[in-house]
Symmetry: C2
Subunit: 453 residues, 2 copies
């Protein structure tokens, strides 16, 4: 038996505050702008969408935010999450590197998303909100929000992209198991949805349309608010519990990472893992290379521009300075649905722009090849999104094999793939192809991005 496979924390060892990287950065991130006035957005601009406490967190300059007791209590249903040493994968790769992965698939929803869903619901509940609305694609975020709502007695109403609603019913069922209500989007519930269905009764929907429907229902009712599962500062803040735990766990075995790799879609899983380590790096206490990994089919950081752009397709949200492929960009249907977002969290974009983190893009067949190596050694079948992080960890481990370096590699396995087995089936049958993106397609989508000095 090896010294250890998993490094656990007891519940009483769980971090009791989230980490906000903003005050530690060498320069502040550019503020969001009001979509009409194009002046820095104020707290009031967000008041119809989010509760006061979350707007405060979105803008706070405090280094730490205490996690409420009631949130810690729900977190204990799956947290602290385990940190694994991937000894069997190391052996397969014949690498001198040590590979550690922080596993978030232990949550009831199977991903890291409940880390922010739970506090978001709690803060809404504290301000007397009765219902939350949101959009969901394949259903990871919608199911996590439903799980959180049922813990605090809030209603949850989810607009799920119609194509997913009908073709991937599993996560819709999960939302309903947790008491949530799901509409295919476009829906008959909203004026916008009805107008689209009038044009095309079989409209497949899109994330942008679903956002518009969820937002319109939230702003129409004073007891209803909207919830977002990634991108925003407060979402990344909540996810830092991942990195804070990983720091404690690595310290238990006397290791510090030389390389940290994480997959980036909206940026919340990456920010959650990386920011506490970036704090340590900025303070000179360790010096890891920190690397974002994105799909070649949606290369926001590696091929997008750092510009003010809208968060949604319809152009209704505040403008955010971020790496973007253009808000009208529609990514190819790759299997890692959670990485199909035209933009990137402003905080992740900012630290990338400052040169504090690196970024690479990896094609999906390499990701699934790595996922098979992982599953056949470590057992767990990864969700398609973290296969990108795994593929990057494998690249690094093989580089160590070539160079003889005994690097410590840290990554996050942000979810399991039990509801994504059809993607594996496609890969195993040799039917998966890589969808690289042409520069012309990116240039085309960038045309719609507003010009802001």
């Amino acid at each position: 038996m090896s010294d250890y496979t998993k490094i656990l924390l007891e519940e009483h060892e769980m971090p009791r505050r989230w980490y906000n990287i903003v005050p530690d950065l060498p320069e502040p991130p550019p503020p969001p702008l009001h979509p009409g006035t194009r002046q820095p957005a104020t707290a009031e601009d967000f008041a119809a969408l989010f509760p006061k406490a979350l707007i405060e967190q979105e803008m706070t300059q405090e280094r730490y935010v205490d996690i409420p007791e009631a949130v810690l209590d729900v977190y204990t249903l799956w947290r602290p999450s385990p940190l694994f040493r991937a000894r069997r994968l190391e052996k397969l790769l014949d690498t001198p590197a040590k590979i550690f992965y922080k596993y978030e698939g232990v949550s009831p929803a199977g991903s890291h998303k409940p880390n922010t869903a739970v506090p978001q619901v709690w803060y809404n509940a504290q301000e007397g909100i009765r219902k939350l609305t949101t959009e969901t694609g394949a259903g990871q975020w919608g199911s996590s929000l439903a799980l959180a709502c049922v813990q605090f007695g809030l209603e949850c109403e989810v607009w799920q992209v119609a194509a997913s609603y009908y073709s991937k019913p599993q996560r819709r069922t999960m939302i309903e198991i947790w008491g949530g209500k799901v509409h295919p989007s476009p829906s008959e519930v909203t004026e916008f949805g009805r107008s689209l269905l009038k044009q095309d009764p079989d409209h497949p929907g899109s994330l942008g349309i679903a956002i518009s429907e969820a937002v319109s229902q939230a702003v129409a009712d004073p007891k209803t608010r909207y919830a977002l599962g990634s991108v925003l500062n407060h979402v990344l803040l909540h996810q830092t519990i991942i990195g804070e735990e990983a720091l404690l766990q690595l310290a238990k075995v006397g290791e510090t990472p030389d390389v940290l790799v994480g997959c980036t879609g909206g940026g919340s899983n990456f920010g959650g893992l990386a920011f506490p380590f970036l704090r340590e790096k900025l303070a000179g206490r360790m010096n890891p290379t920190i690397r974002c990994v994105e799909p070649t089919a949606c290369p926001t950081l590696t091929k997008g521009q750092y510009r003010y752009d809208f968060g949604d397709t319809a152009g209704l949200t505040p403008l955010m300075k971020m790496h973007t492929l253009g808000h009208s960009f529609i990514p190819e249907p790759i299997h890692a649905g959670g990485l199909r977002y035209h933009g990137m969290a402003p905080l992740v974009s900012h630290v990338y722009n400052l040169g504090l983190v690196e970024a690479i893009a990896i094609p999906q067949t390499e990701c699934f090849a790595g996922a098979l190596q992982f599953a056949r050694t470590e057992g767990i079948v990864p969700a398609p999104e973290p296969t990108h992080a795994i593929a990057a960890a494998i690249r690094e481990a093989l580089a160590c094999k070539a160079s003889g370096e005994e690097k410590v590699i840290l990554t996050a396995l942000c979810g399991h793939g039990h509801l994504d087995l059809a993607s594996y089936d496609k890969y195993l049958r040799g039917e998966m192809v890589d969808l690289d993106l042409s520069d012309a397609a990116i240039a085309e989508a960038m045309k719609d991005v507003p010009e802001i000095a």
Copy 2:
């Protein structure tokens, strides 16, 4: 934050031996009989199917069997598994009872099955076996065996009931992810399969047919053996790590169970949880009521007879003294596929016959109602099989509410339901019905059970 939600064990605290209840029983269980001679079966009778080490374990009188280091090492990929205190469910039920559940869904396959798959594969590997064959219905066992085989470099060939193979492809994909080969059964690979396909090219298959195909391929090759996922003594032996861990975990918080409830299909999850506690009870160190929970649609213990019967539909296996509904009994298609077995583990049948454990049957709509209460409080979506255990725990907790008793209830959540969401969908839409079994139907199936004095 509560005192604790989960009770964890460190890897070095993991039990290092399995527990064999046989020497502690007031009388020995009746031996299996050779199907031809009807004399007690010898080790040689099993030699074409199983490796020597497992046949020895099947017949051993030793109280404990050391777990090999290599098996412990694979166990650490998910073990020790957490023991949860279901505080949120207790609160919903407004019960003075304490409910604990041991969660086996943390294994990469999502159930308790790898606890025996891993040692079965290891012992076969030690004896130079290169390939294992098995049958699988929905795929829980087949995927667990594939996971174990890939850890030790053995080939894995699975015959999956054709109806499941085509209608529920997810677990087939899991088997392939872990490098296993899957055939729909009946298959073109075996003579028996070909003969059935000749009669009906669209034959839906059955577990009995799949067993026959897997066994025929194992006995035909000296480097191939067969593996069974429940029923047999050595399988229950391997699963006792569940109960041994739970004993250590309850001791950490100073609790002893007053009631233990577990679902019974073939009996391995129940035996694994219950036998270490039954040892403590027989030794006078605690006095829990121990209760089997089965579906009303397949009430092996509560309505079957304690008779010698075959383990398979075709009548090829040794005869085992067990509670049976008759080996030709075909259970109605209930959602808990893992509980659709005509017989019961001989060891579970024996302790039930001795009056050491109780049994009840619960209809599936009550089980799913309980599962929803569980998922909406504890978060985890249970597999259909352990919903029976949950429903029984809820019954007990509500009885405590009525009586005011502060009982400690222990149960096992032997798997998650991520691959069973279609069953929940059916329940949520009100389309699930209870399938009670008529006495006439049982009497009919019992006609085929051989008369043995």
